[in-house]
Amino acid sequence: MILVRIAIQTFGLALGQIWANKVRSLLTTLGVIIGVASVVAVIAALQGLRATVLQEFEKLGAKRVYIDGTLPRSQWHSGRWRDVQLKIDEVKAIRDRCESITSITPEWWGSYAVEYGDRKVAAAQTVGIWPTWHDIVGRQVIQGRPFTAIDDSERLFVCLINDKAIEELDLPREPVGEFILLAGRRFKVVGVVETVQLALFGGGDTSTEVFVPFGTAQVLNPDGWINDAWGSLASPDKVGDAKAEIGFVLSKMRNLRGGDEPTYQIEVLQQFIDQFNAMAAGITAGAGGIVGISLLVGGIGIMNIMLVSVSERTREIGLRKAIGARPMVVMIQFLVEAVTLCLAGGAIGLGVGQGLIMAIKAIPDSPLKDASVPAWAVLLAVGFSAGTGVIFGMFPAIKASRLDPIEALRHE
């Protein structure tokens, strides 16, 4: 109780002293200022960089999850691939039960002849999809309409095509409403799917593509199976959750026990995120080194000034003890002074760091335009500076608390 009161009173007095000796205090806390400013700036910059990089990944499909059935290597001779392929019930179960997956579509792959008038493509890539496919894969319908639930449930003979198909089949530039023959059956073209050129993930020459509702695809080939499924994550950092949830659902439905090898695989564009995180960790470690050194130097500065202060105020310490200050109280007093000094430095450092970040953000086209100082970095900076004060203020404070009052009062 008495210690808390003393600490609060001393804090106020110490602030007054810092204000009264502005230049000296500034120079003393320079190390702490630099340390805190750099830690704040680096954290904010990394946050900004991270936001930018994740946005890029999102465009490329960092939110996409790829799921398919696979035969573990040990079962290649005994098992059948057909048995481990995804079932439509499994895809629906993932859709309904995995919270980190916002939407999902199965993919059914085939290759059929397509005809329009006298033009024919012998083996056109044919994919059975759910309407969610466009958002998940990032290829929208640019003409006409996407499939509807009715297309799927009624197994209607409707299809979407791509630009390459229009070109190969010599369809009108606006092909919606035309009829084409797919595997010898009459399909109505209801829309055109955009062709996306991606530098990193898939590209080059596109082929003739025809999309049909997933339900309809099963009419084309009742023996066909679901090749794979694409899911969309709630956010790119939910990868771990998604893998765990999907794994749980599939293992349960496939009656896999703890030690069994999974008969499915879940892939994400995780490696890029991992690489980025590794790089960020490297930068953080490097910055941590700088911060550590400057806080060490700053701390030594604080210790020095506190030792000078103890020596200058020996008589005062003697008097305080003579009129009843316990050793612990004297220690707390000096410790609070050191911590206050460091906190003042930390506050200035926060300001400087904020200024640095604003300067960086002002650079046009900066990849760090989203940089901002998060609340936890502020707390970290405050914690670091207070910690420096405690660690480096401890020795002078103990020295003060151990002074013999008689000796101290005789000190010149």
Partner: protein, 257 residues
């Protein structure tokens, strides 16, 4: 009995040498006494003062303050005794130069459990008691030596100590202010305050009820002031000197006649 001291000794180690500062002192001081402790330097009076003030612990012997055995107490307990039972007055005042008179007087109450809520009120009352009601917001460098010592007295009084310990309180003061401070002590004594004062000036000791003289760490004599032989001799000498001075003055005045 406010102070009860038995067989008190204090040994210092100075390198390999052992210095016997006190060698078995017995001393009782009652409530509302005004005692002067006198002795040449090296007689042990400063050591006795430090022990009385609980700044130092005896090597052997008993020191009870208001019945509490302080010789058995640890550092934190002694600090509390110093805070609540003892008021110190030092030769060089020991005021904090950064702080106003009022803040200086409030200082002991910062370390007190009893009075910190009423610290300001009590400090004002104490300053009023020593006649500095109009100097509360002055800093020590804006005050005269006598005023500074009054601030120190107010600081010593503010926690209502059972004893007031003054170590050469007039050592840094001129004769006019010495008189002022002595008057203040007499007034406090009349109001019931127990006072122990260390001094080497018979003039100052003359105001005490009782003089304890130390030599080589032992009590040499302990008499009421009026019966103390050394003091009586000094009084006689002073009276003779005064008479001589008066005579000279009288002769000088009488000469033209």
């Amino acid at each position: 009995m406010t102070i009860r001291i038995r067989e008190l000794s204090k040994v210092y180690k100075l390198g390999v040498e052992r210095v016997h500062a006190l060698r078995g002192v017995d001393l009782d001081i009652g409530k509302n006494e005004f005692v002067a402790i006198m002795g040449a330097s090296g007689s042990g009076k400063s050591t006795l003062m430090n022990v009385l003030g609980c700044l130092d612990r005896p090597s052997r012997g008993v020191y009870e303050l208001n019945g509490k055995p302080t010789h058995r107490m640890g550092a934190a307990q002694l600090a509390r005794i110093r805070n609540e039972e003892i008021g110190f007055i030092f030769q060089s005042f020991e005021l904090l130069n950064r702080a106003t008179a009022l803040k200086n007087v409030m200082l002991p109450m910062i370390y007190s459990r009893r009075h910190w809520r009423s610290a300001r009120k009590r400090a004002k009352a104490a300053l009023d008691r020593v006649g500095l009601a109009d100097r509360m917001s002055h800093k020590p460098n804006q005050l005269s030596g006598g005023q500074r010592q009054r601030v120190a007295v107010a600081r010593a009084l503010v926690n209502e100590p059972s004893i007031l310990l003054a170590d050469e309180p007039t050592g840094n003061l001129d004769s006019v202010t010495t008189h002022e401070i002595i008057e203040l002590f007499r007034q406090l004594h009349r109001e019931g305050q127990t006072i122990v004062i260390v001094t080497h000036e018979e003039e100052v000791a003359a105001n005490a009820d009782r003089i304890v003289r130390l030599r080589d760490g032992r009590v040499l004599s302990d008499h009421p002031t009026a019966e103390d032989p050394i003091h009586r001799r000094w009084l006689a000498g002073a009276a003779a000197a005064a008479a001589e001075a008066a005579l000279k003055e009288g002769l000088a005045e009488g000469a033209p006649a």
